[in-house]
């Protein structure tokens, strides 16, 4: 049984059906990457988990307690980092964390020590400025600090890295990695390299349901041999290969970079021998023929096709 369970969740906005019976199970102490295209329903799912939105049907259970809309009881187990965290601009980070501490019911001394610890962790310890003058990255870091304040069992982060520069992104990911083991992290994003860097579980949301779900290594094992990189001696042969009729199938996606053509095959019944056949029929000898380890990108593309 997971620390967070979602069963048959449905949600529509007007005529747009965003979630169509989503089932998801987040195991304890995992870093769970929640991936999907823009508008796939990641934020909606998170807001339902937090009781901020009302699901049309289905249920969410946090630490064994059912979430009911409009109530905030189950939120005491959760720390939430919104995609664009907003704070009261007239407060300093310390004042803000003290307010949060008082609201969650932490004692004054505990709030103080915990805030100092967290501000140290996110690198805002010596920041005496008011939040109003903060950059986006600084707000994001303060957002993590406030989310971790009450030592939540689950930390939910909504696209924490999507608007940050590479350094800011690395910092945020490092902070999240540092929290691993102490808390379960549900982390939504559409930056696949971030998922690869820190997550051990992944779920791909597509069409209102999970298109893919499991541990990263499990999924990669399950989807081996679906991609091939073929390098040719010259550009001419490469473009000749690229335009071969047999490869123009909906399940095959071809991309080219220099003299290397990458073929991703969505159809599990096809494998490398099909490509070798094509090559030998055309009498093309490639410089190199490599079976690709499935990348997260290829898995994602396959899942959302």
């Amino acid at each position: 049984m997971g620390i967070l369970e979602i069963n048959g969740l449905c949600k529509r906005f007007g005529s747009k059906e965003v979630l169509k019976g989503l089932d998801m199970d987040v195991p304890e102490n995992s870093i769970f990457g929640f991936v999907g295209q823009n508008g796939a329903g990641k934020t909606t799912t998170m807001k339902i988990i937090l009781g901020l939105l009302k699901p049309d049907s289905g249920s969410v259970t946090v630490c064994g307690e059912k979430v009911s809309y409009g109530e905030t009881r189950t939120n005491r187990h959760i720390g939430f980092l919104p995609d664009v965290p907003e704070f009261y601009g007239y407060m300093t980070p310390m004042e803000y964390l003290c307010l949060c501490g008082e609201i969650t019911g932490l004692s004054r001394s505990r709030t103080r020590s915990r805030s100092e610890e967290l501000l140290e962790l996110v690198g805002l310890k010596n920041e005496k400025k008011k939040i109003g003058g903060f950059s986006r990255g600084m707000k994001q870091r303060l957002g993590i600090a406030q989310a971790l304040l009450n030592e939540p069992k689950i930390l939910i982060c909504d696209e924490p890295t999507s608007a940050l520069d590479p350094i800011g992104r690395k910092e945020i990911l490092d902070i999240l990695l540092a929290a691993k083991g102490k808390t379960t992290i549900l982390f939504s994003t559409h930056i696949l390299s971030d998922v690869e860097r820190i997550c051990d579980h992944i779920a791909v949301l597509h069409g209102g349901r999970l298109a893919l779900c499991g541990t990263l290594s499990e999924i990669k094992e399950r989807h081996r041999y679906n991609g091939f990189a073929i390098e040719f001696g010259d550009a001419e042969t490469a473009s000749l290969f690229e335009s071969i009729e047999e490869l123009k199938l909906p399940s095959i996606s071809i991309s080219r970079e220099g003299n290397t053509v990458t073929v991703l095959m969505g159809d599990r019944s096809m494998d490398g021998s099909f490509l070798l056949d094509v090559l030998s029929r055309r009498r093309i000898v490639p410089l190199r023929f490599t079976v690709m380890e499935p990348t997260l990108e290829s898995l994602f593309m396959e899942a959302v096709q």
Partner: protein, 254 residues
């Protein structure tokens, strides 16, 4: 309870740090000082305007005039400024999303409404008290002979009307998502009260009488008993508006 006090503290410090409290206090202080002064000086100003051959007969000003000024300014400028300052009470937090963090920290939605309303009431109470105190002090200094009657009762009515208006602002701001929308709905509620006032039988129970009758009360043209219906009705309506705000806000998708 924890959440209530913490959030109330935050609200009060927000009023102070965003200069709303400052504006209210300065405005009501200025009004408080100006009321008796205007009453005292108006005849002199008019006299100085009179040219030869024209005589303007002006009765000697009394403390009535000072208190008339007080109630006129407080119900017009005072209430309008208060309404404008509080119109963003929910919308600023909802559009910016500052409330999300705190709600996901376990702050209950009812507490948000109740502590916000408490803060508005506190600010209004302090402002009215300040204005009343200053007007009272100055009036007794400039017009030693005091004639006004039912003073405390009239001020109480004005204060109560403020509470009613703030409850209306609260429910409007939960309904509308913008500050202007909130003012629009509040305006509609006040306009509805004014329309109802056209029915003579309803006047006795109409909250708006609380603000409209003050001049009549101090000059003894009306008795406190004439508001015996309006006071409980205003209290009940205020309570109803606040509870309604809580109910709507609990069902609001954020």
């Amino acid at each position: 309870m924890n959440g209530y006090l913490a959030f109330l503290k935050k609200e009060i410090s927000e009023y102070a740090k965003t200069y709303k409290l400052f504006i209210m206090l300065v405005l009501f202080a200025v009004l408080g000082i100006a009321n008796p002064l205007v009453a005292k000086l108006t005849p002199d100003i008019l006299k100085s305007l009179a040219t030869d051959g024209v005589t303007i007969a002006i009765p000697e000003p009394t403390d009535y005039d000072a208190w008339k000024q007080f109630f006129k300014n407080a119900t017009q400028v005072g209430l309008v400024v208060m309404a404008i300052l509080s119109s963003g009470v929910m919308s600023s937090e909802l559009t910016k999303g500052t409330l999300i963090n705190l709600l996901t920290k376990g702050l209950s939605r009812s507490v948000v409404i109740l502590s916000k309303y408490t803060c508005m009431v506190l600010v209004w109470t302090v402002s009215v008290a300040l204005c009343f105190g200053l007007t009272y002090g100055y009036t007794s200094y400039l017009f030693p002979e005091s004639k006004a009657s039912n003073l405390l009762f009239s001020v109480f009515c004005l204060w109560l009307f403020g509470l009613f208006l703030q409850a209306a602002i609260m429910v409007s701001s939960v309904l509308a998502n913008t500050g202007s929308g909130c003012l629009l709905i509040t305006g509609a509620i006040v306009a509805a009260c004014m329309l109802v006032n056209m029915i003579p039988a309803a006047q006795k129970y109409n909250p708006i009488s609380l603000a409209a009758q003050s001049t009549a009360l101090i000059t003894n043209a009306a008795q406190p008993s004439s508001l015996s219906g309006a006071i409980p009705v205003s209290c009940l309506l205020s309570l109803f508006f606040v509870l309604l705000s809580v109910m709507i806000f609990r069902k609001k998708q954020l």
